[in-house]
Symmetry: C2
DNA sequence: AGTCTTTATCGTATATTTGCGATATAAGAT
DNA sequence: ATCTTATATCGCAAATATACGATAAAGACT
């Protein structure tokens, strides 16, 4: 493909896409569920629950953190993670707001 | 990586992840916006608007259709596409419902 | 100091995604 | 019948993502 064309699109589109990509893997959704249930959690607990290697879980956690969906802080030798609910609210409203204004025409069937 | 482990996770997690993956690209979000604005649209119109080749747009449309987010029907030599609002509603409620039950603890800060 | 525990990161192999040109297909127009 | 138009699909190249073992780093504990 020579080059990726993501940068051509608007910032808002890129941000929403990045958000979506962060949850576009069952393992990461499963991790988020664990975090939601336990409120906060260290990496090792997730590794025990999920059928994935420690390095893989750590990598997924990093992606979720980079996307801003979770917070993480170093707690001695371990790392404590929790869900960033504010970010989730934002994503949820961004997503549902994406077509809200146009959804009035929903009755107008097509195709 | 030897093997993909998606199938290890629950169907619901896989479905939600697949949904998210469909919108995890700026080009596909842009396509959805165009479809939402025009209510229905043929492939060629999208190609004119987006800075992508016809084959690329067609491929993105296919992915959105496979994910169930849009409907498409052959209309003579062209193809008419429109948004599947029902699927969007479903995704939206699935997503926002994912953590809703646990979000009561939102005040309980951590990390 | 040395040792253990926990996690991040590196290196890697493999799989998937992205993008485009070229081609195939299918219907309408001449 | 031939040509044009519109779209899907194929084949390829390059970029990303996924997964894991091995290693590094950093704090706790003797």
């Amino acid at each position: 493909m020579a080059i990726h064309k993501k940068e051509i699109f608007s910032r808002k589109e890129q941000d929403l896409a990045a958000f979506a990509k962060a949850i576009a893997h069952p393992a990461r959704i499963a991790i988020l569920k664990v975090l939601a249930e336990k409120n906060e959690c260290i990496c090792g607990e997730i590794v025990e629950i999920l059928p994935l290697a420690q390095s893989t879980v750590s990598q997924h956690l990093k992606e979720l953190k980079d996307a801003g969906l979770i917070n993480g802080s170093i707690d001695g030798p371990r790392s404590c993670y929790c869900i960033n609910w504010e970010a989730f609210e934002l994503f949820n409203s961004e997503f549902s707001g994406l077509f809200k204004s146009l959804q009035i025409d929903q009755a107008k069937k097509c195709c």
